[in-house]
């Protein structure tokens, strides 16, 4: 969806949202074709969260595999419920310029009539938005895997989805300050700012506050399963078609444009990333290929429906550079943003949001949506404002939130716990097991080994 609904090609219906010229005659009606595409898009975006679990999990060490995956999966539970209960209302119901109200809390009054300004049932719009809230929260986990305690993490992302994600979403898509005025607002087709920059800022804060892994910088921490990283990257790409293509909220030309760009931009990023890899190390890496795909997808997200496929390839190509070098440099610092959430989603999102202000083209993105190259240099500034606003808010509020949680719950696993691995410590399971040496404990059996009590390492 765009900051400016008029522009996304839904000219007739968008008038409903356009205050000056309220269109009295348009009776909102559910369009079956648009609904079909949005049903599919919602399923695709929900599927991105398991995909992310694989992408992140494959990059972790095997003793933390389950913990890493669960950090994504659990977002579907807790953030999903929080969104239905209050998040959606705070983001999308009427409120002030900074936050929505509670009139839609507990999904009150939300039915199957079309959401105003769209042609799809309101419940479906809510479900579609829920999948965005979930994946955004899950993205944060990449920065703090292998040491953040699971309880604190769940508390953090659940509350974050309410106090950070919902307001930022309101600013941009829910009637808030950033997206309010058609033609002069920032352009963010599918969430470069709301999703990626926002999550990356929170990830940065979390990585710093939680601190680095005990082995970071001392040992090589290698991905335990690169095929799963590629599985995740492939499935993310698949799901991203719903993320960007679905953001047109209809099965129309805008969706087709966003879709095509979501395909071509990562192709170009992959080519650029591959050649950078080749020049630097003489080899084309699989982890690099997966990372390049994600960076390309992130970069095209804010731009997807606003520019031509050729421009999309340019965006994908350019976006490879800042993220590629940031990842290399980050690894040499003491910042343990373990899976480079900031380099991939933060820088990728910023590059994409700025380039949207460069390449946006009225022919593709609708009247009024044009960037620097089409004679509207001011758009670049507007884009920068939205980026900075989101960064500042997310950094500050995420910091306060994680500090508060740190008072109530242990944030970080001890060195001994990190040694054992968080799968055993936080989940009492191993990802890969052959059952050797596993002894059944029956209820009323006295323990039969020298260890008198259950492991204290794994205790909370």
């Amino acid at each position: 969806m765009s900051f400016d609904l008029l522009s996304s090609g839904l000219s007739i219906l968008a008038q409903v949202e356009n205050p000056p010229t309220t269109a009295p005659a348009v009776v909102p009606v559910v369009n079956p074709a648009d609904t079909a595409w949005m049903l599919v898009s919602t399923a695709l975006v929900l599927f991105m969260t398991p995909a992310l679990a694989f992408f992140y999990g494959g990059l972790a060490r095997s003793k933390n595999m389950l913990n890493t995956m669960m950090m994504s999966f659990i977002a579907m539970g807790f953030v999903g419920v929080a969104w239905a209960l209050v998040g959606y209302s705070l983001a999308f119901s009427d409120g002030n310029k900074f936050i929505g109200g509670l009139s839609w809390a507990f999904l009150q009054t939300i039915g199957t009539d079309p959401k105003v300004g769209t042609t799809i049932p309101h419940v479906l719009f809510m479900a579609y938005q829920a999948t965005f809230a979930i994946i955004t929260a899950a993205l944060i986990s990449g920065a703090i895997i292998e040491r953040m305690r699971f309880g604190a993490y769940v508390a953090f992302i659940t509350l974050w989805s309410i106090v950070v994600y919902a307001p930022v979403c309101h600013w941009v898509w829910g009637g808030g300050w950033a997206g309010a005025a058609p033609g002069i607002g920032a352009l963010d087709f599918a969430g470069g700012t709301v999703v990626h920059i926002n999550a990356a800022a929170a990830a940065l804060v979390a990585a710093i506050v939680v601190g680095k892994r005990k082995d970071f910088g001392r040992q090589a921490l290698l991905p335990h399963n690169v095929p799963l990283v590629l599985l995740g990257a492939g499935a993310l790409w698949f799901g991203w078609f719903g993320f960007n293509g679905g953001s047109a909220l209809a099965s129309n030309a805008s969706a087709a444009t966003a879709f095509t760009n979501t395909m071509l931009a990562p192709c170009a990023t992959m080519v650029a990333w591959t050649l950078l890899d080749l020049l630097r190390t003489g080899k084309v890496t699989g982890v690099g290929c997966g990372t390049g795909i994600v960076v390309g997808l992130v970069a095209i997200t804010p731009a997807a429906g606003f520019l031509s496929p050729t421009s999309a390839m340019a965006v994908g190509l350019i976006a490879a550079f800042p993220s590629y070098f940031a990842i290399i440099i980050r690894a040499k610092t003491s910042l343990d943003d373990s899976l480079d959430v900031f380099a991939a989603h933060g820088l990728g999102g910023i590059t994409g949001a700025l380039l949207t202000g460069v390449f946006a083209d009225e022919t593709w993105g609708g009247a009024g949506n044009k960037g620097l190259l089409n004679g509207n240099p001011g758009q670049l500034l507007i884009q920068a404002e939205a980026i900075v606003g989101t960064l500042v808010y997310s950094l500050v509020v995420s910091f306060i939130l994680i500090k508060i949680i740190g008072f109530l719950l242990p944030l970080k696993a001890t060195d001994a716990q990190q040694g054992v691995g968080l799968d055993v410590v936080d989940h009492g399971e191993e990802a890969y097991s052959n059952g050797e040496g596993a002894v059944l404990i029956l209820e009323n059996e006295s323990t039969s080994t020298p260890a008198a009590s259950p492991s204290t390492i794994g205790a909370r």
Binding site: G437, A438, L440, S455
Partner: protein, 119 residues
């Protein structure tokens, strides 16, 4: 000739390798084992089933050395692998009758002396 077999913590492998390297021990073979000693056990739960994992991940290192190398090798493992917590592992020193280097069919002491590599 002796074969030194050490069971250590997985975390400590890289430290031990570094320490062996400093002691000028070049040839080692490393494998995974799961061990039981005096350590506490992890309790794991899979659906309705609660299990006690009696075996912990360990690393087994095997080093063939000539006799005068035994002590430095043992010492360097002892120092690098120690945490002081239960579960640090054991070292076994085993007599060896003969050693061959497969590449050259050299035997005994000649077989365990490292050779320069022409990269």
């Amino acid at each position: 000739m002796k074969l030194i077999v050490a069971i250590i913590r997985p975390d400590k492998l890289n430290d031990v390798l570094k320490s062996l390297y400093k002691a000028e021990v070049r040839g080692v073979s490393v494998s995974h084992v799961r061990g039981h000693g005096g350590e506490t056990e992890n309790v794991e739960t899979y659906r309705g089933t609660t299990v006690k994992m009696e075996l912990q991940e360990k690393i087994r290192i095997e080093i063939g050395v000539s006799d005068h190398f035994v002590d430095p090798t043992v010492q360097s493992i002892l120092s690098a692998a120690k945490t002081g917590e239960v579960g640090d592992g054991k070292i076994f020193v085993i007599p060896v009758e003969s050693v061959y280097r497969i590449r050259t069919s050299e035997k005994d002491t000649a077989a365990v002396t490292p050779v320069a590599v022409k990269a």
